[in-house]
């Protein structure tokens, strides 16, 4: 029982990271209707940003690490939008071309980092205020608690931003119908900047926690596939779906690692995605979005 509770908490903390990532991905998907495959590269660069701040600049607090990651994450995310996507969108290029361009960014950044930084694992030395919390016999690591709490806070702030502010409403309007939003005087380029910045921020926070949990290395971005899978499970393009999918995936994966075998964890999450697509082709909360006639 104790083990089970501990697994659930660990699962939720991983789920929080996945949910955050998935929201960052789904936000872009909901507006621009394409999968930003460069997401992994952004996450990885941000984790290196955290590594740079904590290792090279010797500022080892969690805040400075996160700040370093967020700065790099947002910069890389915006650069991708400007260099790889904006002109394609202006030409109304097909989704295939956008996806190829995104994949190009991912391949480029990942392999460039492999050459420049070598494939070594680098650990993120971030000082935590405490190590473990004990509730009776249950021990929960501080990293798990911090990642869960911070993910929840960021998700909450994002939710308020999207539901309550003027920019948030503009974002929702653009997600509903980008062309009409443009006609109604919403500056779609400005919206895209905000959205890509938010996406970079979520990637950076998740990337930092992932780097702390494991290590920082050039293929760390592969974790972004969890965001994609969460999003498919929850329903592509749906923000609540992304959060739900992230938590479901996080908990399930931890259970599988804990009770069966960690080596089949990825196979399992892949199978869950296929199963969801079989029974709910549009995900749990997804609606079939048609292209407008």
């Amino acid at each position: 029982m104790n083990l089970f509770v501990q697994q659930v908490v660990t699962g939720l903390s991983i789920g929080g990271i996945y949910a955050l990532l998935a929201v960052g991905y789904a936000l872009i998907y909901s507006i621009f209707k394409f999968t930003n495959f460069a997401f992994g590269a952004i996450l990885m660069c941000a984790a290196y940003g955290a590594y740079f701040v904590t290792h090279t600049l010797k500022m080892t607090s969690l805040v400075s690490g996160l700040l370093g990651a967020v700065v790099i994450g947002v910069i890389v995310s915006l650069a991708t939008e400007l260099l790889a996507y904006r002109s394609l969108r202006r030409l109304k290029a097909s989704r295939l071309f956008l996806m190829i361009s995104a994949m190009g960014v991912n391949i480029f950044v990942q392999n460039l980092m492999t050459i420049m930084m070598s494939a070594n694992l680098r650990s993120l030395d971030i000082k935590m205020p405490f190590n473990v919390i004990r509730f009776g016999k249950i021990r929960i690591g501080s990293l798990d608690i911090f990642s869960l709490v911070i993910s929840l806070i960021v998700l909450g702030v994002l939710w308020i931003f999207i539901e309550k502010t003027k920019h948030g409403i503009a974002i929702r309007a653009s997600a509903h119908d980008t062309d009409t939003a443009g006609l109604m005087g919403i500056n779609v380029n400005k919206i895209s900047f905000i959205v890509f910045a938010i996406s970079g921020l979520t990637a950076a926070i998740s990337g930092t926690f992932m780097g702390m949990k494991y290590a920082v290395y050039p293929t760390l971005g592969a974790i972004s596939s969890k965001a994609f899978i969460s999003s498919v499970i929850g329903g592509l393009g749906s923000l609540p779906g992304a959060v739900l999918g992230g938590f479901i995936l996080g908990v399930l994966e931890t259970m599988i690692s804990g009770y069966i075998s960690s080596s089949f964890r990825d196979l399992f999450s892949f199978s869950v995605m296929i199963a969801v697509l079989v029974f709910l082709p549009n995900g749990i909360l997804g609606s079939g979005i048609n292209d407008k006639l």
Binding site: R95, I100, I107, N111, S225, D266
Partner: protein
């Protein structure tokens, strides 16, 4: 011998690329995990040869069919979704690593991460060349037929294609199955030349190689990507420094090509096939020296 192996690699690459041309170049379905199908085909072929005593050629074909089976299992649910393009791309992205991880963890028969060695070298130049010519010829016929035209229609304007009566799901599924078969056969041929088979043979980088040939070669063309496939195998051998930077270059090229010439270098055009024939002749001539 060195040139011969280069030629065989080029041919194997061309078979897999021919399959990807149908899926991505013609039908417009983005597949970043095609190396997964190569791995499935390779393992199926080698295992049926070594453990089930299936002769070489049927084993290769069997490998292709196993790849088709897997492609339907993972592809059909994704292609049914409203967001088919993205759901499928995400499935394929996960597929490569799932195949690798699964094989790495299966000790009996698959021999986990050590891989299978001592595979007889049965993929000789003539066998591989025959396979390449046949598969390219079949693909060319298919693409020129009404089936190929339907694929282009789906890629260009999916809604309209459906509204003029094309069964979009079925057409995409046919494209996926044929494409997976080609990848499976290519994987099998590769293993019977390399003589060993390990999960890392068909990594994400291999998928990037295949995709690069299609993107550089162009969409709605078969000869462009085939030429690119051959060049991309041969070029890094002559320019050694390119070998490390190859993937960096591909990534940059994807972005630049999408910005300035999204249809690729040979998009919507075909090289006259006599020219390719002469290229075959040259490669073959060199191989004999």
């Amino acid at each position: 011998m060195y040139l011969q192996s280069l030629a065989i690699f080029a041919c194997v690459n061309m078979i897999a690329v021919a399959g990807l041309v149908l899926l991505t170049g013609y039908t417009g379905i983005f597949s970043i995990g095609h190396a997964g199908f190569m791995a499935v085909g390779a393992y199926a072929a080698v295992i049926s040869f070594k453990y089930l005593a299936v002769p070489f050629l049927p084993a290769i074909i069997a490998g292709g069919f196993v790849a088709v089976l897997i492609s339907v299992i993972i592809g059909y649910p994704a292609l049914r979704s409203m967001m088919a393009g993205d759901a499928f791309a995400i499935v394929m992205l996960g597929f490569v690593s799932v195949v690798r991880i699964s094989i790495t963890n299966i000790k009996p028969v698959f021999n986990a991460s050590f891989g299978i060695s001592d595979i007889p070298r049965l993929s000789t130049m003539s066998v591989v060349l025959a396979f390449t010519i046949l598969s390219v010829w079949f693909m060319r016929n298919f693409l020129k037929s009404h089936y190929g035209k339907n694929c282009i229609a789906i890629q260009q304007q999916e809604t309209a294609a459906e509204m003029v009566g094309i069964n979009v799901l079925k057409t995409k599924l046919i494209a996926l199955m044929i494409s997976a078969f080609y990848a499976g056969v290519a994987g099998g041929l590769f293993s019977f030349f390399a003589t060993y088979l390990a999960p890392t043979n068909f990594s994400e980088a291999k998928s990037d190689d295949l995709l690069a040939a299609v993107v550089l070669g162009g969409i709605n063309t078969l000869s462009g990507p085939l030429l690119a496939a051959a060049i991309l195998v041969v070029l890094p051998e002559f320019l050694r420094f390119l070998a490390i930077w190859r993937l960096v270059f591909y990534g940059a090229a994807f972005v630049v090509i999408m910005q300035f010439k999204p249809e690729g270098l040979m998009g919507y055009r075909e090289i006259s096939f006599k020219w390719v024939g002469r290229l075959y002749g040259k490669v073959r001539g060199k191989a004999r020296d």
